[in-house]
């Protein structure tokens, strides 16, 4: 019998309601920014999707001033129960417009529609819904009762800069806790993925959110830099690379402004010889190829116990071979497009370093689309800890495989990195899973699972993966004067 083949199941691009042009959102209105407009591109086709007006430094001034006014006159004095209802409204509209947002996200980012539909957008709606309920319960969040039992006061005006890998979700990870706690916010989405954050601003306007509470400024790194260094802010929240994070921490030295950083990672995924191998293979594949590996917490270093390394390698290659790389709008696509030419170049360079340093490259034989920015799922075996593919964040669909003999060696290798964002452990022995989880210097440890996220569950790193957490009661503390 012939194996069944997949017929194309293409989502309708028109659902994205794509506009020819988008503009910055300042003080409750879409305005013409003074920056040079940018063209945002669909990485799957390299065709221009829309023109996006960008902010200049004077627009940053205006947005920060609007956020300050809103903090002092409307949002700050508003009872928490009222703030909560605005956030609940926004959460509901995000859910109602979820299909539109998912298609738009896939067009702008290149991620498979299956992921934007099943992960990005529903998790964003859930994050808003969860934090909405905190707005009138801050006195119960564990940071003291505050004045009148309302909890510690908010910080004031938040400046947030987010990356391109989860554009809507990262926007919401900043906006939801900031607003729930009573702050106002100026958000700069990534240069290559500004669209869903601007639709979110429109949703906020539909929900009647008072002017100035949320401001969205598209632009490149210079605008991000102008924003995080702005004297009018009380708090900066950044998600992105460790290099930029360090630069921001340096910039804020001596200002007394609050800072949280969610930076890079080089997560180890440890597979013990007693793991349920088929499940572990699924988890390892999901850990690195989810979202094309454009995930700060991606399980980019596989540490497999030596006794099962050969068998595991065969299972891994067989499974990766079945991953379908291609049109992100096709519901059958597993791995979509690389977000930008610059990122694709970086992945190509780092993979070449793997070759030149002596690792063995295996490339999935899957067909690639003829146009667009794509990189096939790649596995390096025989990787040593000193190699760049073991040390540097590749942020692409490239897995480095190392081996170990004892649990102590697994932990030592896993922790041998300046990063500390996440880690995975695969074993059927509960005590060993917990023993390992206790010793991993990482902010999130997935045991017998990987890449799970929830608004109630704090996320963030140790060491050079940054500081502060996002999610839950603990994440809320980053937006309170506690």
């Amino acid at each position: 019998m012939e194996p069944w083949t997949y017929s194309p199941a293409r989502e309708n691009a028109a659902l994205a309601n794509l506009q020819p042009s988008y503009r910055p959102f300042v003080d409750g209105r879409f305005v013409d920014g003074d920056g040079e407009p940018l063209k945002t591109v669909n990485p799957a086709t390299e065709e221009v999707l829309a023109e996006v007006g960008t902010a200049s430094t004077s627009d940053v001034d205006r947005a920060v001033a609007a956020a300050r006014r809103a903090f002092e006159t409307t949002w700050g004095p508003m009872p928490g129960a009222e703030r909560a209802k605005y956030l609940f409204r926004i959460a509901r509209i995000v859910a109602e417009r979820s299909r539109e947002l998912a298609v738009l996200e896939t067009l702008d980012n290149g991620k498979p529609i299956r992921e934007s539909r099943d992960v990005d957008v529903p998790t964003a709606a859930a994050h808003l819904f969860h934090h909405a309920g905190w707005a009138d319960k801050l006195g119960h969040a564990g940071y003291g009762p505050g004045v009148g039992g309302n909890g510690p006061p908010p910080l004031g005006v938040v400046g947030a800069v987010i990356p391109w890998n989860f554009p809507l979700l990262m926007a919401v990870w900043k906006i939801a806790p900031a607003l729930a706690a009573g702050n106002t916010i100026v958000l700069k989405p990534a240069e290559t993925t500004p669209l869903t954050a601007l639709v979110l601003a429109q949703i906020a306007a539909e929900a009647g959110l008072p002017a100035g509470v949320l401001n969205v400024l598209p632009g490149a790194g210079d605008i991000g830099s102008a924003l995080v260094g702005h004297d009018g802010l009380d708090k900066v929240a950044f998600t992105g690379s460790t290099d930029v994070g360090k630069e921001i921490q340096r910039r804020l030295a001596g200002t007394g402004r609050r800072l949280t950083l969610e930076l890079g990672g080089k997560a180890a995924n440890i597979v013990y010889d007693d793991a349920a191998l088929d499940q572990a293979v699924e988890g390892v594949v999901d850990g690195i190829f989810f979202n094309q590996g454009h995930v700060c917490c991606a399980g980019s270093r596989l540490l497999v116990q030596e006794s099962i390394a050969e068998e595991f390698g065969e299972l891994l290659h067989a499974r990766v071979t079945t991953l379908r790389v291609g049109d992100p709008l096709d519901k059958n696509t597993d791995v979509g497009a690389i977000n930008s030419r610059a990122q694709l170049d970086r992945i190509v360079d780092l993979a070449a370093a793997g070759d030149s340093e002596g690792a063995q490259r295996w490339t999935s034989p899957c067909p690639l689309p003829e146009k667009g920015l794509f990189f096939p799922p790649t596995v390096f075996s025989g990787v040593e800890q000193t190699m760049r593919v073991a040390r540097e964040e590749i942020f692409g669909p490239v897995l480095s495989v190392l081996t170990f003999r004892t649990p102590d060696e697994a932990v030592a290798k896993a922790n041998n990195t300046p990063y500390g964002l996440s880690a995975g452990v695969w074993t059927d022995k509960g005590s060993k899973a917990m023993w390992t989880a206790q010793r991993l210097r990482a902010g999130v440890v997935w045991t017998n699972t990987f890449n799970k996220f929830d608004p109630t569950s704090p996320f963030g790193g140790y060491a050079e993966s940054g500081f502060g957490r996002e999610g839950g009661r603990i994440g809320l503390g980053a937006y309170l004067d506690a």
């Binding site: 340096r250 030295a253 001596g254 950083l261 899973a433 999130v444 017998n448 699972t449 109630t456």
Partner: protein, 294 residues
């Protein structure tokens, strides 16, 4: 007992004030010392003038002690820290002498400071087995998983002790480092280092493992940059940083994404009962996921 004249024809035995590194009391590897005077300018002693290499040795000791201390049970850490309070109480009179000499306080006010330091230590000793319950959480994720978050020690914390309050101030910033399970490299108050040396003698005779606390005396401005730059130091408390250096130290700390408690504009009132801010500052929240199934 310092360099006081004979009493009833007997000359007292003056103490040599040394560093406290890895559980031992070495002189500075540099062989240097500096004169320490009391509040009226009279010579009290020659304290060790620690060097960059002493900082390195202290960080190495603190990093080495981290595994054992962070891995000790919370109950055990609580008992060990409570034992420190017992030893402080036993040496109360000597510590009062030290604080009187260092800070020029009346004996009554110095006694109040020492008593507050002992009580502060007891307060933090009681925290060790409560931090997880208070700062942690079980998270009701929308899926078949158990999911919890709990604090873990940040690692090695560099502490620039307050310059004014030589004992209470030091205890106020050091005890929370230990209560979270971190280890410490302390630079004592530059002009008032002798009470810190007294504390190191208390620590050495408590059950605190060697290397968990390391106390250096010397020039804060000389030692602080090395502490701020050291990759094995994960946290930096700038409580006693020189004003003109504080911003640069924060910048240096950013190179390794250290957690930093900035220098306060004026020294904190250490008599105030603290909240959990310092415990939170030196904790990393770890979230663990595990599936639920049959």
């Amino acid at each position: 007992m310092s360099l006081s004249p004979p009493v009833d024809g007997r000359l007292g035995v003056a103490k040599t004030f040394k560093l406290y590194v890895g559980g031992a009391f070495p002189r500075s590897e540099s062989g240097r010392s500096y004169p320490v005077s009391d509040a009226k300018g009279r010579l009290l002693a020659h304290a060790a003038l620690a060097s960059r290499k002493d900082v390195r040795d202290a960080v190495s000791a603190a990093a080495g002690a981290g595994k054992g201390w962070s891995g000790a049970t919370a109950y055990n850490k609580g008992q060990v820290l409570y034992r420190v309070a017992e030893m402080l109480q036993a040496r109360r009179e000597g510590l009062v002498d030290d604080v009187v000499a260092a800070e020029g306080l009346t004996r009554k006010r110095a006694s109040t400071q020492v008593d507050a330091a002992i009580d502060r230590w007891v307060w933090y000793a009681g925290w060790t087995d409560k931090i997880s319950s208070v700062l942690g959480s079980v998270n009701p994720v929308a899926g078949p998983f158990v999911n919890w978050s709990a604090p873990e020690p940040t690692g090695v914390v560099g502490v620039l002790a307050p310059q004014g309050s030589s004992l209470l101030g030091l205890v106020d910033v050091l005890a929370p480092v230990l209560a979270t399970g971190c280890t410490a490299v302390v630079v004592a108050s530059q002009e008032r280092p002798l009470p810190a040396v007294g504390l190191s003698e208390v620590l050495a005779t408590s059950d605190v493992p060697g290397g968990v606390v390391n106390i250096l005396t010397g020039a804060t401005a000389e030692l602080a940059p090395w502490l701020a730059a050291h990759a094995e130091v994960h946290g930096l408390d700038l409580a006693g940083a020189p004003a003109e250096l504080a911003v640069e130290l924060e910048r240096t700390a950013a190179d390794t994404v250290k957690r930093v408690l900035p220098r306060p504009a004026t020294e904190a009132d250490h008599t105030r009962v603290p909240g959990t801010a310092r415990l939170r500052a030196w904790s990393e929240i770890k979230t663990v996921w595990h599936p639920v199934g049959r």
